[in-house]
């Protein structure tokens, strides 16, 4: 139940974007009611996506002004993005390919391909409803997959095992990013569909000259495979245009970080993480991605000029390490309202911008730019290669955003990050940075409940930070039955 309703203007913003989001959903249905209804039977998880407009409510309880507006705009943009993803296959699966989420989509865009991301349900379902993906996890566990594997690929494998993914697609491209669970989950799809598959093998030591060379060669192999299997050709001019847009996005992103690291941060929490996650990964390089970033940026700049804080009653500046809690997508809001914690950047968003900019002067330079940017993408550089890919950036980010605490979301299914936890704790102690570590499972709130997450953080805030909650009534919330 919502405790804070906001003033009339805030309620209008709430209503406006709620209505726009539903309008977008209805437009999808109206565009071809027959095929959409058939798709709902074939892919029942689409029903759960209808809960997405509610996500904005959860993100924004108690918020007002620009922070509220940015979040509402972002959620609506994400809904539009998901609709675009759905449109690629609900009308027709002819000429559609399976494409793993960790491969640069700029390539398919430039080839004029339509693609289905098998991770679509696993990415979105737990965010809109913590329990909606449980049936898929249970199904695949009943088929023998151990329940301790990361829930992200587990859901993907479960959705496929349930027969709720498009059939008879033309080809599949998958890769070994970000982890072993990720690529292993594709063996079932490849086997079950008996589909021509290209596996991109990103070197572990991707920063080495030899590693980068191997990655670029492999990307060329993937393009040749797609050309062969789909009949679509790579349009290099179009790729240059898309990469150019990606660079533009990076420039805006860097400015966004400046606004987050200001003494009065005007952007925080999911307003930093969610647009980055969506438009640097899922819809990288699209016209829509640049348009929404520009639109958001206009409001961020205005808020900066007004010195309007992103978090009212900010008591602590924090950075988040490891992936955020998908099954508790709005936990940023609780951090803000209960403890006055503003999350000013996070592991998935932060990176060295030099590694993201793409040189569009030649075919090879574009492929190298894509290879470099994707080696440094969400969950990738942290789970692979040298320890230097993981830890130093945490201290760099802490310093850059003037954080006085680090929140570590210890996803117990992530082997690569968990296995550096001891060294990380010792290093934080040496640097005298308070580090709040909570254990959780990325997409399965049955392993660690939302209240379990809150209890771990609250305990740390009281015992280490010697803080008192801004609102005692938020320490325990009965939200286990909620979406």
């Amino acid at each position: 139940m919502l405790k804070y309703k906001g003033n009339i203007k805030d309620q209008w913003i709430d209503f406006k974007y709620w209505a726009i989001s539903w309008g977008d959903i209805l437009k999808l249905v109206a565009s071809n009611p027959y095929k959409v209804v058939i798709a709902l039977f074939k892919y029942p998880w689409i029903y759960d996506l209808l809960k997405a407009p509610h996500l904005a409510k959860l993100y924004n309880e108690g918020r007002n002004g620009t922070a509220l507006l940015l979040s509402q705009m972002t959620v609506n943009a994400v809904i539009k993005s998901v609709i675009r993803l759905l449109k690629k296959f609900v009308y027709d699966t002819k000429d559609v390919i399976f494409a793993q989420i960790m491969i640069p989509p700029q390539i398919y865009q430039a080839m004029g391909l339509r693609w289905f991301l098998p991770e679509t349900p696993s990415t979105i379902l737990p965010m809109v409803d913590q329990h909606s993906a449980e049936r898929y996890m249970d199904l695949i566990e009943s088929e023998g997959l151990p329940g301790d594997t990361c829930s992200y690929p587990r859901i993907t494998a479960g959705v496929y095992a349930a027969g709720e993914m498009p059939k008879n697609l033309k080809a599949m491209v998958a890769c070994n990013l970000p982890c072993e669970g990720g690529f292993s989950s594709y063996a079932g799809i490849e086997d079950g569909e008996n589909i021509p598959t290209y596996r991109l093998d990103v070197p572990n030591d991707f920063k080495s000259k030899e590693g980068m060379k191997a990655f670029v060669e492999d990307l060329k192999g993937m393009i040749a495979f797609l050309e062969d299997k789909t009949g679509h050709r790579m349009d290099w001019d179009k790729l240059a245009e898309i990469c150019g847009r990606f660079n533009e996005l990076m420039e805006i992103e860097l400015e966004r970080w400046e606004f987050a690291r200001a003494d009065v941060p005007v952007i925080a929490g999911e307003n930093i993480w969610l647009p980055h996650f969506m438009y640097f990964n899922v819809e990288a390089g699209t016209e829509e991605s640049v348009a929404i970033f520009k639109e958001l940026h206009k409001h961020i700049k205005a808020a900066y000029e007004k010195k309007e804080p992103a978090v009212k009653n900010m008591k602590f500046r924090a950075v988040l390490w490891n992936p955020p809690t998908f099954a508790y997508a709005h936990f940023w809001n609780w951090l803000e309202r209960c403890w006055g914690i503003a999350c000013l950047n996070d592991m998935e968003t932060f990176g060295n911008f030099n590694e993201f900019l793409i040189d569009t002067s030649s075919h090879d330079s574009m492929l190298e730019g894509l290879a470099r940017s994707w080696s440094n993408m969400t969950m990738v550089r942290h789970t692979r290669g040298a320890v230097e890919n993981y830890l130093p950036q945490l201290w760099q980010m802490t310093e850059m955003f003037k954080a006085n605490m680090i929140i570590v979301a210890n996803h117990i299914g992530c082997r690569s990050s968990m296995s550096l936890s001891g060294v990380m704790i010792e290093e934080a102690r040496k640097r005298n940075i308070p580090m709040c570590t909570f254990d959780y499972e990325l997409m399965d709130s049955r392993v660690c409940s939302r209240q379990g997450i809150r209890d771990q953080i609250s305990s740390f805030m009281r015992s280490v930070m010697k803080a008192e909650p801004l609102d005692e009534s938020l320490l325990v919330i009965d939200d286990e039955a909620d979406w």
């Binding site: 151990p146 093998d201 082997r415």
Partner: protein, 390 residues
């Protein structure tokens, strides 16, 4: 079955990583190079006066310190190795070459540098190998370059001759040793084998933790003794063990105590793969790279799921196995997913198969015993049903 006195020598080598042959080699001024995975080519670490020692953690009970560094949620092999290394068990190593074969072991071995393990030892070096997850030219070039990096360190730190000739010689010696091992291994294919799975596993483990040249004579004597030996009697089923790391023959002993003779070993520290010959012509670094990529049966190779299933079927036939014990280490994602593609498929095809999740150390023996016993009874009842059905 009567125990062979020739076997006792090999058994004695398994108790401590710094076994009598390792001690002897070190006294002779040889350099022990530690390694972690099938993907690290043994001949590479056998050049000049170097010899490879595959890391194990015999006798490690608790992993409290390693749990702090690696967390409790990664596989107990990785945790046990780190615990063991922190205790100083591997202070005799002159270097460490480890494959980035999976995230668990990669992070485990990165802790040698992070925690300065052996860093005070003169000459000690570490080198990771970027080992591809598919067999394709870009990856082959990459892995080759990493093999050369490891060789360069051996040369720089200890003056080891790492020329092509030196590597070719190491490959040739490796092949000679493997030929002898294969002759012993083939005894397992007989209708009534003259060697048990426990004994053969002891030999394979010994061959990975002691200088092979020092094992040649004892192995020849053992082979002669085995040839004169009476076949194994009284077993109830022939089984193949498939899965992740096993370096403790105690597991095989437990299976065999229940009447299941282990005739085929498709696990890390097993011989399928492991006894194939490496080509001695051409660029030896390239031959090593291609050999290890082509023969690897670990689910880390992401394009080979179907081929792994095929291999299991073929080995079952070749070794006349009645059923498969499929074991996975807790928290191992790679073998966990393999359950979906191998276990379920073989079960659907009617092959008797049991899946066991376990820890690195031999724990939960009672439960394991019961499951193996039940599995062997299942094989027997299937066999009986077939006979009754005519």
């Amino acid at each position: 079955m009567k125990k062979l006195k020739e076997m006792e020598f090999f058994e004695g080598l398994l108790d401590n990583p710094k076994n009598e042959l390792v001690e002897k080699a070190l006294q002779e001024g040889r350099i022990a190079i530690g390694y972690n995975c099938y993907m690290v080519p043994e001949p590479l670490l056998s050049m000049g006066n170097a010899f490879p020692v595959r890391l194990r953690a015999p006798g490690v009970g608790g992993t409290e310190v390693a749990n702090h560094y690696l967390s409790k949620f990664i596989c107990s092999y990785a945790r046990s190795i780190l615990e063991s290394a922190l205790d100083g068990t591997y202070d005799f190593l002159g270097g460490l070459v480890y494959a980035a074969s999976c995230s668990h072991v990669t992070r485990c071995f990165q802790h040698f540098d992070l925690l300065n393990i052996n860093s005070d030892k003169e000459g000690f070096f570490t080198q990771s190998l970027d080992t591809p997850r598919k067999v394709a030219e870009p990856g082959i070039e990459l892995m080759k370059s990493f093999l050369r990096k490891a060789a360069d360190k051996m040369s720089q730190h200890y003056g080891i001759d790492t020329s092509d000739e030196s590597l070719r010689k190491a490959i040739s010696e490796y092949n000679v040793f493997n030929r002898l091992m294969r002759e012993i291994s083939d005894l397992r294919k007989e209708g009534n084998p003259r060697i048990t799975g426990t004994e053969f596993h002891t030999l394979v483990v010994a061959s990975k933790i002691a200088p092979r040249d020092m094992l040649m004579e004892p192995l020849k004597k053992l082979k002669a003794a085995l040839e004169k030996r009476e076949p194994v009697k009284g077993y109830r089923a022939r089984v193949m063990v498939v899965g992740s790391i096993f370096d403790n023959p105690g597991f095989m002993e437990l299976i065999e105590e229940q009447g299941g003779l282990v005739v085929a070993d498709r696990y890390c520290f097993g011989s399928l793969p492991g006894l194939e010959e490496i080509r001695e012509d051409g660029d030896p670094y390239e031959q090593l790279t291609r050999h290890y990529l082509n023969t690897c049966e670990c689910p880390r190779m992401m394009e080979e799921t179907k081929s792994r299933l095929k291999s299991v079927r073929e080995w079952m036939q070749e070794y006349k196995a009645d059923g498969v014990i499929f074991e996975t280490m807790k928290f191992c994602d790679l073998w966990g997913y393999e359950v979906l593609s191998v276990v379920n498929r073989l079960r659907d095809e009617g092959s008797p198969i049991v899946r066991i999740e376990r820890e690195y150390a031999l724990t939960g023996e009672g439960q394991l015993r019961t499951r193996v016993q039940a599995f062997i009874e299942l094989i027997e009842s299937k066999r009986l049903s077939k006979v009754l059905a005519g």
